[in-house]
Subunit: 347 residues, 2 copies
């Protein structure tokens, strides 16, 4: 359904509410104490630093009514930002949401967006508040989020701290989100008729409602804060794909990696053609898992905590090559930062 | 000049740089330590809380190439957010900037924007860093800012703390920004030919480069933190106009106000027709001064600190009316929250 052409007047539009009506609607989703002043005030624990991240999502670039409900736009906007905080081992404190909306946006879209936002803000039990934002008119639906967390200075997880000998952990299966997108775009494609309904649903859920790994923030913080040899977990989230995360960590840390192909799990087990399975696992993106490099004993603990799909998938090397190796060493893939969607490419 | 139609290939466009080029350009304006991880980490002093504010500006809604240079878009975006922090007596810590840009945006526009941003971030000597953000393609140029500051919990200035007997201070002359806009839109208007060149320039500067009152943050914080009777300064900034600020403070504090007309100063002294002078002083908007309610001895000190144009302009009353009175009591204007520009109004 194309909302923008929904011109029957039975559909309430943002322009029917006007600015004050829109503000009133939006403020229903905020704690009352943050409304009504020039800025909101939120507590930061003594001894903690502020971790800050921001993302902008634009209609027809990051989402569209054809594939993404308003609820899912809200959910995914928040998931991306909370995932960045989780990747730093930062406890979320709050988010701001600024919206640019065409006056003809249905009010139901705005309500759907905020429902997705507040539901995703519950993930991991942190009950993160919306502490501010802005709404204004624009020709293009635009969602701009900033998220703030707290982390002990020096205890944040960084990309440039991996060392040869570390093992690499992924906190969940990769490629599921890309598989869900494929199923949404071409549900009847002949090639994947052997995918079970339950696996289809799981993949689509992974795409529409990715779960930022906030559940891992507290144990990661505890490990980082209590280590003698401080800051020894390196890592980032896998929003741009598993391969991208491994390559970025290796580049930032000036090292290489060997990834064991069989340890990655395989989407082929779910019925996906083998020709797509490894590609989507490495380059699919938007799984919002964490990719962490750490000493092996800690890695074993982390895999236990992270649950289904988590695995030790390789090791960090001194030599700068980054390769995926199969068990019998017959099959070697060199990893690169394959270009995903590039903003600003000429039409 | 309409940049969007500047299609000669001598003009370097954002699409010529590509996403990685744009990121590289933008990161030049950030401290190196905040680049390269999922989130940036910045210090918050122990015992301080976080103050957060956010604003979104959209091409053809908040600015346009016809009246606003890229530099001024950057300056004003930051000024609005820093003014919100100043209004809460919060020391700025950092800002995030997220940009949506059409691929045909000239690179010079992007550079101009960031020049304005970083220059305004120097106001008041805080040297506020850009600690994050996002760039993505969009059909409409969009600038989304979030700003963070630190303030002792309970020491923030709020709108709902004014009391009968307080006097009202404005920290500078109002209406100058609106006068500057008028001069920019109709430089040759017959009515204002008696305005001196120096006053024209001052008004245009007030519109293009409003100065957020960060210079007042430290004394305001000191007063708020050291008071026995805590949180006794009420107030907000005057971004939506002097009248709007007074009315909002009175509504939030459940009180009224008398404003002394002669204390407001007069734009008529600068040569503006009397018919416009009071109106623009009260309703012009975007002066980004502070409107504060406090006991008179402190108010006298504040006026001294705030400098030229600052004045005690009235007093808070128990009765709920909000009126502007002339000295001889012959001239009475009842203040309202006159509607300024309303987003989402039907075309």
């Amino acid at each position: 359904m194309d909302w923008d052409t929904a011109t029957q007047r039975s559909v309430m539009l943002v322009q029917d509410l006007g600015e004050s009506g829109v503000l009133h609607l939006v403020q229903r989703f905020c704690p009352p104490e943050v409304v009504g002043n020039d800025a909101a005030v939120c507590a930061v624990r003594a001894g903690y630093a502020l971790a800050v991240t921001a993302d902008m999502l634009v209609d027809d670039v990051h989402f569209s009514d054809r594939t993404t409900s308003a609820y899912d736009v809200g959910w995914r906007s928040i998931a991306a930002n909370l995932s960045d905080l989780a990747a730093m081992a930062a406890t979320p404190i709050g988010v701001t949401i600024s919206l640019g909306l065409p006056p003809t946006t249905p009010v139901s879209w705005l309500e759907g967006l905020y429902s997705g936002v507040v539901d995703c803000l519950q993930v991991g039990g942190f009950d993160v508040p919306i502490v501010g934002g802005d709404v204004c008119s624009s020709r293009v639906r635009t969602v701009s989020i900033a998220a703030f967390g707290e982390v002990k200075p020096g205890a944040e997880i960084r990309r440039d701290r991996a060392r040869a000998g570390d093992v690499i952990v992924m906190t969940g299966l990769h490629g599921l989100s890309r598989m869900g997108l494929g199923l949404l775009l071409e549900p009847d494609r002949e090639e994947w008729r052997s995918i079970a309904v339950v696996d289809r649903e799981r993949a689509i859920a992974a795409h529409q409602r990715p779960q930022p790994r906030l559940d891992l923030v507290r144990p990661l913080q505890a490990w980082q804060e209590n280590r003698q040899d401080s800051s020894r977990i390196a890592g980032m989230d896998s929003s741009d794909g598993l391969a991208d995360a491994i390559v970025q960590i290796c580049h930032a840390s000036r090292c290489g990696a060997i990834v064991w192909r069989e340890a990655l799990g395989s989407l082929a087990d779910l019925g996906l053609p083998a020709s797509l399975a490894l590609d989507w696992t490495l380059y699919g993106g938007e799984d919002f898992e964490l990719v962490l490099c750490l000493p092996e004993p800690l890695a074993q603990e982390l895999v236990q905590l992270a649950g289904h799909g988590a695995a030790i998938i390789g090791e960090i090397t001194e030599s700068p090559e980054i390769t995926v190796l199969s068990r019998d060493h017959t099959d070697l893939v060199r990893l690169d930062r394959r270009q995903g969607f590039q903003h600003f490419s000429a039409p």
